[in-house]
């Protein structure tokens, strides 16, 4: 009887310590995988990569096409109805593409991070850049915004998730903005390394 009890307690401890980790990708069309199959979107590929690296993770793809940072807080509240261990925040691109004011985007992203922190959920920030046609000042300010948030909120930042993908026709769909299947693979590789390092 005693041995059974010890075995049960051991198992309980073991399960708690190594139970699978739920990661929410709170993002926009990039996370949603607009134009590609959901199974080929980079969050799903990150899940595949992490599992291949023996991480027991469960990824929730919270990507919504066209989403701006303003929607992040309410969407996070919805997702927080289930247990979350980590949030990978990928928002802001649509704010930039629509020319919205950068302080407004920054404020929204910080609100999301603060909400996560209140629930003791770790946040990883995925940075984006604006295309050069948006003008030097705007693109610089936009890039700095992620760095500022990262340093102020003390959260890890991957500066540009579309590095080596953006601007290259072979990795993008006809719209020139959204990655194709090959593009998502490259993004996933980079994001996997980033998540793995911070998991």
């Amino acid at each position: 009887m005693k041995s059974i009890l010890i075995f049960f307690i051991f198992n309980l401890f073991f399960l708690k310590a190594y139970a699978n980790t739920t990661i929410l990708f709170l993002g926009d069309s990039l996370s949603e995988g607009q134009g590609v199959d959901e199974s080929e979107s980079f969050p799903r590929l990150v899940e595949r990569n992490l599992r291949a690296h023996k991480f027991d993770v469960n990824i929730v793809n919270g990507g919504v096409s066209g989403a701006t940072s303003a929607s992040g807080e309410s969407r996070l509240k919805w997702h927080m109805k289930t247990k979350l261990d980590l949030i990978v925040l990928e928002l802001g691109a649509n704010d930039g593409l629509r020319g919205l004011k950068i302080p407004e985007t920054e404020k929204n992203l910080k609100l999301i991070i603060k909400l996560a922190k209140t629930k003791k959920i770790k946040v990883l920030l995925l940075g984006l850049l604006m295309p050069p046609n948006y003008g030097k000042k705007y693109t610089n300010d936009f890039e700095k915004m992620y760095q500022t948030i990262s340093s102020q909120e003390k959260i890890p930042l991957l500066p540009f998730i579309l590095k080596d993908v953006a601007g290259k026709a072979q990795f993008n769909q006809a719209d020139g903005i959204h990655p194709n299947v090959q593009g998502h693979e490259l993004v996933a590789k980079r994001v996997t390394e980033f998540v793995e390092k911070n998991l």
Binding site: V64, S71, G99, G167
Partner: protein, 847 residues
């Protein structure tokens, strides 16, 4: 006697027939020529409007810069073909007023154009008038910007002020109040600025990673074949990310409405021609009945049937060619007047043109139809036995077999397919007409049987009229069919015209929105509704939008299935359908349908549902349902931000595609999606520019994250085209109705003329004029009443079926109006019979 000599003598002996036949055939041919020239004019106008959208005849564009090899291939091709082109690069950027203490930055749609731009269309500048082709030189002299009025207002700038665009300062050289061009992205996320391509490099906006549309606007010569050049360019630039678009493809709405108009015109051309053929057929039958004895005499003199047939054949060819010549001269003479009339009417210059190709087509069409429709009549008449000479009463054409007309039937089928350029349009129309004729024949047989059976119970006049119909079965049936087809087509034209015009225009005032707002957050919705109420803005739609992904249809996973990879699909539709299955979709919920939606199958449930008790109901847009292979009763499961939500499809909706309202493929019953993360969409109709500005300002102040799109310009451009099309449909319908009216009157005249000896005989036998007139008017009344009833039924059924099958739209029946029209037509025919009988009896033509 030689063939020619005999022919000339015979030809001269039929003077009245010759004149009547030329006139009757001309009626249809004039209709065809007018339809052709009008069609050409309208298509030309629509096409020019569409050319304004892309500023050229053809555009080659891509959302990436073309590589040097592609540029070389394209420019070499254009140079070999001696085609001019303009460069046009469209990109978005933040622009701000220079030398301002607190510069406001606004997103703008920048259009860098080369000196050749535009070939078509232009912009209207405040204080500087319209700038069309060849009038843009000022823009290229120094860094100058032509800025849209909305943006100038938002930035607080005016002519002469400076704007910082990228790394270069531009002077505002013009404020645009109206522009004819569309955006390569379908709609404008931001107001436009036009700039010279010469200064693009200095702005430093276009470099690695920039997002822009790089386009070549190509000017073709009038003799160039757009489709051929498109195909050749496609072979040169096979990458699908490069779009090679003609004017019609530049707008989905225009493309669809042009197809609709083209189908309609094909149908109406065919109908006008068939109507004239009906008149011609009946008239020739009348003529031949009178000529039967002549043919018998020729035969008794030893002339062979083939010889006589050749004579008749040549006769018909000459008459038809004369009719075409006469009609062409008449129409060519009338076109300048028509042009000026319509230009005044619509306020736009319309050029009616008749191409040689159209003329030859109509000549060929008329000859083919005449010979195949009338040839069998002549052939049948020539088989009349010699003994007919000794008959007292006029002989009837009884030797015509139905299979004589099989070539005609095949010809009409072929014609329908050629004219409509579609098996579908031609096939459905003719198929429906064949069914109508069959049903009409059955009804007529039934009616004569009933009249015979109950004739004994009728008074003298009615009995005699009833028995005449059954005794002269062939001739009565012919006129019955002619009247019925004429009236059915009249009913059809009226109702089709009305239904199609409703497709292009609004019914209860123009509800199309001017502004479209998106990305309003859930937490902002209440505040926004309050603001909208306070400001009294006319909101046409306010809808929640939830993003989801379809996971399962009836428990079967919808995600990418094993099968062909991209480029291996057999058709584009298959590929689209597969891609649709794999993509995210926007869902919504609401308790009532919008004005632009209509349930076409099942029932819409706007009541709140309780997902714990029953599965919630879903309404799908019918084309989406078709592409996804979903039908009523199917269970769908969606992934909504990680949660599975299911529902059952209970209705299919049709969305009015010219409403410009934002619509959703999937609508849930209220009660299930309310808690899901969502944003809101809204659309507004504004009364004035001031109100539009007010909406922009207040929304920007209170909801800075929200995006507002001004779609009024786009809506206006496209609705101009629709208005023109609606007018085209109305005019051509009236033209066709005129042909129908004349044919019906001519048919009635001829039918009475056939019976004039009979009338004279009654008169000689002592029947008073009043009685004789009563017999014929009563006989006609039977036929007319039956035709009116049946044509209302058949014409309406034809409208409903063809609107659904060809135009994929709903028919709007105008039964009270059409009934009144047909009754008036019946009265006119009655009056004609009334007076014609009097005239014929008085003519004492017994001998």
């Amino acid at each position: 006697m030689s063939f020619i000599k005999f022919f000339i003598r015979d030809f001269k002996s039929d003077k009245s027939f010759n004149w009547f036949m030329i006139l009757c055939a001309s009626l249809g041919i004039v209709g065809l020529l007018l339809v052709e020239s009008f069609k050409g004019g309208v298509e030309d106008k629509v096409s020019k409007n569409a050319k304004n959208f892309i500023a050229s005849d053809l555009s080659v564009s891509a959302r990436r810069s073309l590589d040097p090899k592609e540029i070389e291939l394209l420019e070499k091709y254009l140079s070999n073909k001696k085609l001019n082109f303009a460069r046009w690069t469209e990109t978005y950027s933040l622009v701000s007023k220079s030398n301002s203490e607190q510069p406001i930055s606004k997103l703008a749609d920048l259009n860098f154009v080369s000196t050749e731009f535009p070939y078509f269309g232009g912009v209207l500048l405040e204080n500087d008038g319209f700038k069309g082709s060849g009038q843009w030189s000022n823009l290229h002299q120094y860094p100058q910007a032509w800025v849209s009025r909305d943006l100038a207002w938002e930035l607080g700038v005016k002519n002469g002020d400076q704007l910082k665009i990228g790394e270069l300062e531009f002077v505002i050289g013009g404020i645009i109040t109206e522009d004819k061009f569309s955006s390569f992205r379908g709609f404008n996320l931001a107001p436009k600025i036009f700039l010279s391509y010469n200064f693009l490099k200095q702005t430093e906006l276009i470099k690695f990673g920039s997002t822009a549309t790089y386009a070549y606007a190509i000017k073709l010569s009038p003799l160039d074949d757009v489709k051929k050049i498109q195909n050749e360019l496609r072979l040169l630039l096979p990458d699908k990310t490069i779009k090679i678009l003609g004017p019609e493809e530049s707008s989905q709405q225009i493309s669809r409405s042009l197809n609709l108009l083209s189908d309609y015109l094909a149908l109406i051309t065919l109908m006008t021609y068939l109507l004239s053929l009906v008149g011609l057929y009946y008239f020739t039958q009348h003529f031949l009945s009178k000529k039967l004895k002549t043919f018998s005499i020729y035969k008794s003199l030893g002339l062979k049937m083939t010889f006589l047939f050749r004579v008749s054949f040549l006769h018909l060819i000459i008459l038809t060619a004369s009719a075409v010549t006469f009609s062409t001269l008449l129409v060519l003479g009338a076109l300048p007047f028509l042009e000026s009339f319509f230009t005044n009417l619509v306020g736009e210059t319309l050029l009616f043109r008749l191409q040689w190709a159209s003329l030859f087509r109509i000549l060929f069409l008329s000859l083919g139809g005449t010979l195949l429709a009338l040839g069998p009549l002549f052939w049948g008449a020539l088989q009349t036995p010699v003994a007919t000479i000794f008959q007292d009463l006029p002989a009837e054409l009884k030797r015509i077999k139905f299979y004589f007309f099989l070539p005609l039937v095949l010809y009409i089928i072929l014609l329908a397919i050629i004219l409509a350029n579609s098996f579908k349009v031609g096939g459905y129309f003719l198929g429906s007409l064949a069914i109508i004729i069959l049903l009409a024949a059955l009804c007529f047989r039934g009616m004569t049987w009933l009249l015979e059976k109950f004739s004994k119970k009728l008074n003298f006049i009615n009995r005699y009229a009833a028995l005449t119909i059954s005794r002269y079965f062939t001739s009565s049936f012919t006129i019955f069919i002619c009247l019925l087809i004429g009236m059915t087509l009249t009913t059809f034209i009226f109702q089709l015209d009305h239904s199609l015009r409703r497709e292009f225009t609004q019914t209860s005032g123009d509800k199309r929105p001017d502004l479209f707002m998106f990305d309003l957050q859930d937490s902002q919705a209440e505040g926004f509704v309050e603001l909208q109420k306070k400001q009294n803005w006319h909101q046409t739609l306010f809808a929640p939008m939830i993003r989801g992904r379809l996971l399962k249809i009836n428990e079967e996973l919808t995600q990418k299935r094993a099968g062909p990879s991209e480029g291996e699909f057999s058709t584009r539709e298959d590929q689209n359908s597969e891609q649709m299955r794999n993509r995210g979709v926007n869902l919504s919920y609401r308790s009532t349908l919008s004005w632009s939606e209509k349930i076409v199958e099942g029932h819409f449930n706007g009541q709140k549902c309780d997902p714990t008790k029953n599965p919630c109901e879903i309404s799908l847009e019918e084309m989406y349902a078709k592409r996804m292979g979903v039908k009523i009763g199917d269970k769908l499961v969606f992934d909504i931000s990680g949660l599975s939500i299911s529902g059952v499809v209970t209705s299919l909706r049709k969305v009015k595609w010219i409403s410009f309202e934002p619509n959703f493929f999937i609508l849930f019953q209220p009660g299930v999606l309310e808690d899901a993360p969502k944003t809101f969409l809204a659309s507004f109709k504004v009364k004035s520019i001031q109100e539009k500005r007010e909406v922009f300002t207040k929304v920007a102040e209170s909801f800075p994250n929200v995006s507002l799109l001004d779609i009024s310009e786009l809506v206006r451009k496209i609705t101009n085209v629709f208005d023109l099309m609606a007018m085209a449909i109305k005019f051509i319908s009236l033209l066709s109705l005129f042909v129908a009216l004349v044919v019906l009157i001519a048919v009635s005249f001829n039918h009475l003329d056939l019976r004039k000896k009979e009338m004279a005989l009654y008169f000689m036998l002592g029947l008073k004029l009043k009685r004789i007139r009563s017999i014929y008017t009563r006989e006609f009344s039977f036929l007319i009443i039956m035709c009116i009833l049946l044509s209302l039924l058949f014409g309406s059924a034809l409208t409903v079926v063809l609107m659904k099958l060809i135009f994929d739209s709903e028919a709007i029946l105008r039964l009270p109006f059409v009934s009144s029209f047909l009754i008036s037509l019946g009265l006119i025919l009655y009056i004609i019979v009334y007076f014609r009988v009097r005239f014929l009896v008085k003519s004492k033509s017994l001998f």
